[in-house]
């Protein structure tokens, strides 16, 4: 189901956790809320669920105004960070709980509840563990029970709060791929919160980058990585370098030297240059370039990460070079960014 968040504001005491946030979530899409802690991503998820109510603004499920409904009436599926399984119930009782507590008019027959719970347990690949208690399961298995339990109620939207946060790296990677498969098979509209950019970029159809209670950018993983539209997104996603430059006559200048990059149509004056370590061309000579002395050189898998002291700036710059480039400390290197953006404060 389509979910529309409209001008949502949420204050905790005097502090605004969310400020005028609007977001359209398309039916059937898998969308990630990505941001550092305190960015408001979990608050937004809990507002959609109805676990919090907004100070201002509305949330629509389809054409229904969901903000007038309680959490019980919204029919959502929520997977908690620490799973929040009912520890005195077996796996199958946990999964069936949402159906069993329905008022008798809407409750399926006991046999149907059982059938549906068993199907879901098979879907999350836990067949055979129906009679186990949560304490007898591994972290990854508990996570799957939590997901099956949330899906059992045929939710309008599936909400996951840091779904892999409490798992170790290996299990995390497996479950990530598996969640994508489940989503493709079931087609639930799914929103998940994460602070791990790899997770968001790898898993989601679209990524919502949040910071300080605002949405910074919404886009596909490619859009977010390749064309970040704010210094924050540039800095938060992937690696990036910044240099204070000046725009003069369509050229970029660092101190008194042109760096050989033309910026037609940019306004005159000081600006901040952003570029990624791998978006550079190495130069032999320097007819307008960035030049620096290597201070540190590390081999990382197939590339070489090199830290430079740039002439004309006190900032350290990191670039990525092919591994066969000899870049011992003390070597002079000249380069030019080939993909970059300017931001003005």
């Amino acid at each position: 189901m389509e979910v529309r968040v409209q001008d949502i504001r949420k204050d905790f005491g005097r502090f605004p956790a969310l400020d005028k946030v609007s977001l359209d979530i398309r039916s059937g899409e898998l969308i990630a809320l990505l941001g550092p802690s305190g960015s408001g991503k979990t608050t937004l998820l809990r507002l959609i669920a109805g676990l919090e109510s907004p100070t201002d603004g509305t949330i629509f499920f389809g054409d229904d105004d969901a903000s007038k409904k309680t959490v019980q009436e919204r029919n959502i599926g929520f997977v908690f960070q620490h799973y929040a399984l009912f520890r005195h119930m077996t796996v199958i009782d946990n999964v069936a709980f949402g159906l069993k507590v329905r008022p008798s008019s809407r409750r399926p027959a006991a046999a149907d509840i059982r059938k549906r719970a068993e199907d879901l347990i098979d879907l999350v690949q836990l067949g055979g563990l129906e009679k186990r208690y949560p304490a007898q399961l591994s972290g990854g298995q508990r996570q799957r029970v939590a997901l099956a339990r949330a899906m059992a109620v045929e939710p309008n939207v599936l909400l996951l709060d840091e779904p892999f946060g409490a798992l170790d790296a290996q299990v995390r990677k497996e479950l990530r791929r598996w969640l994508r498969e489940i989503h493709d098979r079931t087609g639930h509209t799914t929103v998940f919160v994460t602070h791990d950019q790899d997770e968001a970029l790898e898993l989601a159809d679209r990524v919502v980058v949040m910071s300080k209670g605002r949405i910074e950018q919404v886009g596909t993983p490619d859009e977010i990585y390749d064309t970040p539209n704010s210094p924050f997104v540039f800095g938060f996603i992937g690696q990036s370098n910044t240099l204070p430059v000046r725009v003069e006559n369509g050229q970029l200048w660092l101190e008194d030297r042109s760096i050989g990059v033309s910026a037609p149509g940019e306004r005159q004056g000081p600006a901040e240059l952003y570029f990624r370590p791998h978006d550079i061309d190495l130069l032999d000579g320097c007819g307008g370039c960035l030049a620096g002395v290597v201070t540190l050189s590390r081999r990382v898998a197939g590339t070489r990460h090199v830290e430079l002291d740039i002439a004309g700036s006190t900032r350290r710059i990191e670039i990525e070079l092919p591994s066969d480039v000899a870049a011992t400390p003390g070597t002079r290197i000249a380069f030019r960014p080939n993909r970059w953006r300017l931001f003005r404060s």
Binding site: A49, G50, L51, V71, Q72, N75, I76, G77, F78, F80, Q81, H82, A84, L85, F86, R87, H88, F97, G98, V101, R102, Y133, P134, A135, Q136, R149, A150, A152, V153
Partner: protein, 285 residues
């Protein structure tokens, strides 16, 4: 290369902390002197009675009635304490209201107030002309000098056991669990009755056992309010005292032995349930 040494039996794991011998020595001597020798004296005394004498004494009608009354009233009082203890713990943990801290402190009153004082205070309250008794008498309810009075005294005595066992477990309930139930569509009542309270069951059981065990042996707060009518409202500890005053040591010993055996068996059963719960659900109390 590693060489695996055969695991030698060790009484204790090595430690740099000094004083183990002294501390354990003091502990064991004191334990043996003050607790174990006197208790084994009781065991020895009852074994010298001989089985048939013991059986005759233990199955004497007055003894049986006294045991029935002690265990029965303690059971009812512990049940009442489960209801009110869980309620009190819930209110103290979940709500903030004026006077909460005072009430929290008051819960320990039965631990601190000497039982004889509690006994005469409750008797005065519930006597037919007392503050509460005078309100109940017109309704045909008689509390003081009846078995009901015993139950009331034991509710007083056992209350803190339930509250203080359940309260810390309740404080640790993960709020996410309640939210999970709500997102699955459970009403508040369903969340409390099907998710929260069953999760508290091991703690409640422990509290019940403690209150029950205390109630069975309770003497001071009961004898004033009980009326102490043989066969009707005479508790087992009082019958022990009566037999002692008659210098009927065998009878006193037999009653005491029966009480101890039943109490220990109960504690054993409850400990096993706890251990089973821990193994199965990963938690106990």
């Amino acid at each position: 290369m590693t060489i695996s040494l055969p695991q030698r039996w060790q009484f204790r794991q090595p430690s740099v902390i000094p004083g183990f011998g002294l501390a354990l020595g003091v502990t064991l001597s004191w334990l043996i002197l003050v607790i174990l020798i006197p208790l084994s004296g009781l065991a020895w005394r009852s074994s010298t009675l001989g089985w048939s004498t013991f059986w005759t004494l233990a199955t004497d009608q007055r003894t049986l009635n006294a045991l029935k009354i002690s265990f029965g009233t303690a059971f009812l009082a512990a049940l009442a304490n489960v209801v009110f203890g869980v309620l009190l713990a819930w209110v103290l943990v979940r709500y903030r209201f004026f006077g909460r801290r005072v009430i929290d402190a008051m819960v320990d009153l039965p631990f601190a107030l000497p039982t004889a004082v509690a006994g005469i205070a409750l008797t005065t309250l519930y006597a037919p002309n007392g503050w509460i008794g005078s309100l109940l008498t017109p309704l045909g309810l008689k509390v003081a000098f009846t078995p009901l009075g015993i139950v009331f005294a034991l509710i007083f005595v056992g209350l803190p056991f339930v509250v203080r066992t359940v309260q810390p477990i309740m404080e640790e309930i993960d709020r996410e669990v309640e939210e999970a139930a709500a997102t699955l569509g459970a009403t508040r009542f369903q969340t409390v009755s099907r998710v929260l309270l069953p999760g508290l069951a091991p703690a409640v059981l422990t509290g019940f056992a403690l209150a029950f065990a205390r109630g069975v042996g309770e003497y001071g707060s009961v004898i004033f309010i009980a009326g102490n009518l043989p066969y009707v409202s005479e508790i087992a500890p009082l019958l022990i005292v009566i037999r002692l005053e008659e210098f009927n040591y065998p009878a006193a010993t037999a009653i005491a032995a029966v009480m101890l055996i039943i109490s220990f068996v109960m504690l054993l059963v409850i400990n096993s349930i706890q251990a089973w719960s821990r193994r199965r659900y990963g938690y106990g109390a």
